[in-house]
């Protein structure tokens, strides 16, 4: 039995609605937020409180509910929750927490429903509860036969849940969770084009807006001549947007169709003022380097690493649709945080939260970018002006040039090496920028906490110097760990190479015996047949990370000559893998991110503006560059861990080490000028 506070309410006659508070919010009072509902016909509906940005949370919710209610995943109808933190708790998809924070409340909600149904059947049959089991949407008894859920819903809803013990289905009895069969619940919609993303939201009477955005960082419109624009067919209005209340600022063209809005934008004549028209990312890197203290704390082996700007570039460009009415507003957005967005809009517009409806659409990737509200603020301003629903669409170039970028950084690593060639003391000095989208992220201690996960038993210090950010910066998958771990693991590899040590043995010797990392490192070494020498012309890299409550070790195999990555092996301990295919998918995705950023994708700034505009010059990996990726899920007794961001930092480090061969890695991308 589990301890719980359960709310049971009938929503409509005979309906069984089970709500359980998310533990993180319980301290704030009884806040029911996760719903599993059975209607009179026995149909099961689950509400997914957090957005699915591709990480698969909808599938995991369906599997959890189906498991506990003894049905198939396809028998659970899913409703995507609108923004409402009072009902659903935090709805932010961030820091790889969705499944970790939802598993207990959702499984408990579904198990409560099952236990109530079983109890109702036992009472009707006048048999002990222990003799009844739920199976295939019915409660069964060896002699009494079976009663479908629909015949039990009313009786179950009338029970006092406090009198009914609730037990979660133990893992050894799982039929669905932890199994390899079964894919995404939304897969059929995806491959038939039916999934509704933010860009597909078109409320009746809806208009489209595109925004002329600053040609260099920080510029604001000085003069706007919209005569030609307003003369074009389909163009309805032009308005100047002021940052930050109306997004990032610019001049919006509202039209009947997307093409008309785009043509209207082309015809604008705008002069811009302010900002930094001569900014250059090479100078920014030089500034970061010059901010390193003159002396490293350790006089020993030393290396400096330079890290680039990175854009999120989700496949679905930024967009949002708003309908501002006299009595309130409705938003349709591919957001990572519908609840937070609703709260922010209500506060900013000075209206009650109850008048703000945020509909969560499917999201064509996010990677940290969609935690920010700027496209929504633009849509609100445009809809208010137009008096109609307006979708603000960002073009690919808008998206790439007005992102909240992963910050540049410079890392100086130093180590004192013992007589056996192993580091015995270390120092890691970081100079970087804050995350401007969340002002408190300028705190060096917070940056250190985000980035520093050094798992090896080498004493030392990590120090962070924060320089002012010259452009918008934000949360990019793995946040600062992406930079820190890349520098640390490549430095350790360089030490190992200089000392002539085996890279796996070196790490093994520096990890506590019996640790999760020890186990995943041993597993991945076996997968990669590490003890056999690498094939001629190939080179290998290894890296580890424990974070988000999970542990991973990665080995990459590459041909330094051709810079081709052949294979990436990963062993991961996520505690409990609820949806193994989804676990592998997250690791595979991180590996492709790692490959892309090590092989050449970076954002540069020239003459004040971002130079890259699309997938032609932001060189994301393509199918032909894809290595074989071999993921082992290591059995574990650890609690459920997070996964969305775990594999990126060590995969990047391992891939860079493998491609580098005998040369030291000093930058991301490898072997390319940064900035």
């Amino acid at each position: 039995m589990i301890s719980r506070r359960t709310l049971l309410r009938g929503a409509g006659i005979g309906a069984l609605v089970v709500a359980v508070p998310v533990p993180a919010l319980a301290a704030e009072g009884l806040v029911p937020n996760v719903f599993v509902r059975l209607d009179d016909a026995g149909r099961i509906t689950a509400t997914v409180p957090r957005p699915d940005t591709g990480q698969g949370v909808r599938t995991v919710v369906a599997l959890m509910v189906a498991e506990e209610l003894a049905v198939e995943a396809g028998d659970v109808a899913l409703e995507q929750a609108h923004g409402d933190t009072e009902r659903f708790g935090s709805q932010a998809v961030a820091n790889s927490t969705s499944v970790r924070q939802l598993a207990t409340p959702i499984r408990t909600a579904a198990a409560t429903a099952r236990c109530l149904l079983v109890t109702a059947a036992a009472r009707r049959w006048r048999v002990p509860v222990a003799e009844c089991v739920a199976k295939d949407g019915a409660v069964c008894h060896p002699r009494r036969g079976k009663l479908p859920y629909r015949a039990l819903v009313r009786a179950a809803a009338a029970l006092d849940p406090a009198t009914v013990p609730v037990e979660l289905t133990p893992p050894e009895k799982w039929r669905l969770l932890g199994k390899t069969r079964g894919g995404r619940v939304d897969a059929r919609d995806v491959v038939t084009g039916r999934t509704g993303y933010g860009i597909d939201a078109r409320p009746p009477g809806g208009l489209v807006a595109v925004v002329a955005r600053p040609p260099w960082i920080g510029a604001v419109p000085d003069t706007v001549d919209d005569t030609a624009t307003r003369a074009l067919p389909g163009v309805l209005d032009v308005l100047t947007l002021t940052a930050p209340a109306e997004g990032q600022g610019g001049v919006a063209v509202i039209a009947r169709s997307t093409h008309q809005a785009l043509r209207g934008r082309d015809a604008l004549r705008i002069t811009w003022r302010g900002g930094t028209p001569t900014a250059d990312s090479r100078a920014w890197l030089a500034d970061l380097r010059s901010a390193l203290p003159a002396q490293s704390p350790i006089d020993g082996v030393q290396q400096i690493y330079s890290m680039p700007l990175l854009a999120h570039a989700p496949m679905e460009p930024m967009n949002a649709t708003a309908h501002v009415r006299p009595d309130g507003l409705t938003i349709w957005a591919p957001t990572q945080d519908p609840g937070g967005l609703r709260t922010q809009l209500a506060r900013q517009l000075g209206v009650p939260a109850t008048s703000v409806r945020v509909e969560t659409t499917a999201s064509g990737g996010a990677f940290g970018r969609r935690i920010e509200p700027d496209p929504v603020l633009e849509a609100v301003a445009c809809s208010r002006r137009a008096g109609a629903p307006v979708q603000v669409l960002w073009t690919r170039a808008d998206d790439m040039r007005n992102d909240s970028y992963r910050p540049m950084s410079v890392h100086r690593l130093s180590a004192e090496i013992g007589s056996d060639g192993v580091p015995i003391r270390r120092a890691h000095e970081v100079v970087t920028w804050p995350l401007t989208v969340l002002p408190f992220f300028a705190n060096p201690a917070l940056i250190k906490a985000s980035g520093d996960h050094f798992p090896y038993t080498v004493p030392g210090d990590v120090s962070v110097i924060v320089r002012p950010a010259p452009l918008r910066t934000g949360f990019w998958r793995s946040v600062y760990a992406g930079q820190f771990v890349y520098a640390e693991e490549n430095f350790l590899s360089e030490i190992g190479r200089r000392s002539g040590l085996d890279q796996v043995a070196l790490r093994r010797s520096l990890l506590p015996a019996g640790s999760r990392l020890h186990k995943v490192l041993d597993t991945v070494a076996e997968q990669a047949r590490w003890t056999r020498p690498p094939a001629p012309g190939t080179s290998r890299g290894v890296a580890c990370l424990e974070d988000y409550g999970s542990a991973i070790a990665v080995i990459a195999v590459a041909e330094p000559e051709s810079r081709r990555v052949l294979r990436v092996h990963a062993a991961v301990d996520v505690g409990v893998a609820l949806h193994p295919s989804g676990v592998r998918a997250q690791v595979e995705g991180c590996v492709i991110d790692a490959l892309s950023t090590v092989l050449g994708a970076q954002i540069t700034v020239r003459e004040g503006g971002v130079a890259e505009s699309s997938f032609g010059d932001y060189r994301w990996a393509r199918i032909g560059q894809t290595p074989d990726i071999d993921v082992t899920i290591v059995p574990s007794n650890a609690p459920l861990g997070g996964l969305g961001e775990l594999a990126y930092p060590p995969a990047a480090a391992a891939i860079a080490s493998a491609i580098a061969g005998d040369t030291p890695v000093t930058s991301m991308p490898f072997g390319t000028a940064v900035g």
Binding site: G183, D186, V191, M315, S614, G616, G624
Partner: protein
């Protein structure tokens, strides 16, 4: 503005747009075929990949005027029931993450298999080279194209 007669997913559809309107926006804004995804607008990402006269094409770099009298198939028209071998293979191998690029990937793969029923890895990589997946589903896409090829062979 002018009237154009398009043949989309087996139906004749008339639209009243400027001739230079990209086919992408005709399909999405005028005909409501939102399975055709906007990703870059300049033919670089493949999210809008559809079939024009049976071959993979990018509606974002074709115009309404170009498209009159051509035979256009979008993801919505690939199969009646979502059970084209490529769509089945995509589901079997659990390819999609966010799914946004997948209609384009599926259409590119279907066009490849229509002209080369048994493509080798090089042919798969060539046909899908300019279909970007930002979630990194490439290993599964590669396997799913092979799987779709097998399904088609088994059912011939």
């Amino acid at each position: 503005m002018a009237r154009y007669l398009l043949r989309v997913n087996g139906e004749r559809r008339e639209v009243d747009v400027d001739g230079d309107t990209p086919l992408l926006w005709v399909l999405r804004d005028e005909l409501g075929l939102t399975g055709v995804k906007y990703g870059c607008g300049v033919g670089l990402c493949g999210a809008c990949t559809s079939h024009v006269d049976g071959a993979a094409a990018r509606p974002c770099v074709r115009t309404a005027a170009d498209s009159a009298q051509t035979r256009i198939t979008t993801i919505e028209g690939l199969s009646r029931d979502g059970d084209h071998p490529v769509q089945r293979a995509w589901r079997e191998l659990d390819v999609a993450q966010c799914g946004y690029c997948q209609p384009g990937q599926v259409m590119a793969a279907a066009a490849l298999l229509a002209r080369d029923p048994d493509p080798d890895d090089a042919a798969i990589e060539e046909a899908l080279r300019d279909n970007v997946c930002r979630c990194g589903s490439y290993p599964r896409i590669r396997d799913a194209v092979r799987r779709a090829s097998r399904i088609m062979r088994e059912e011939r």
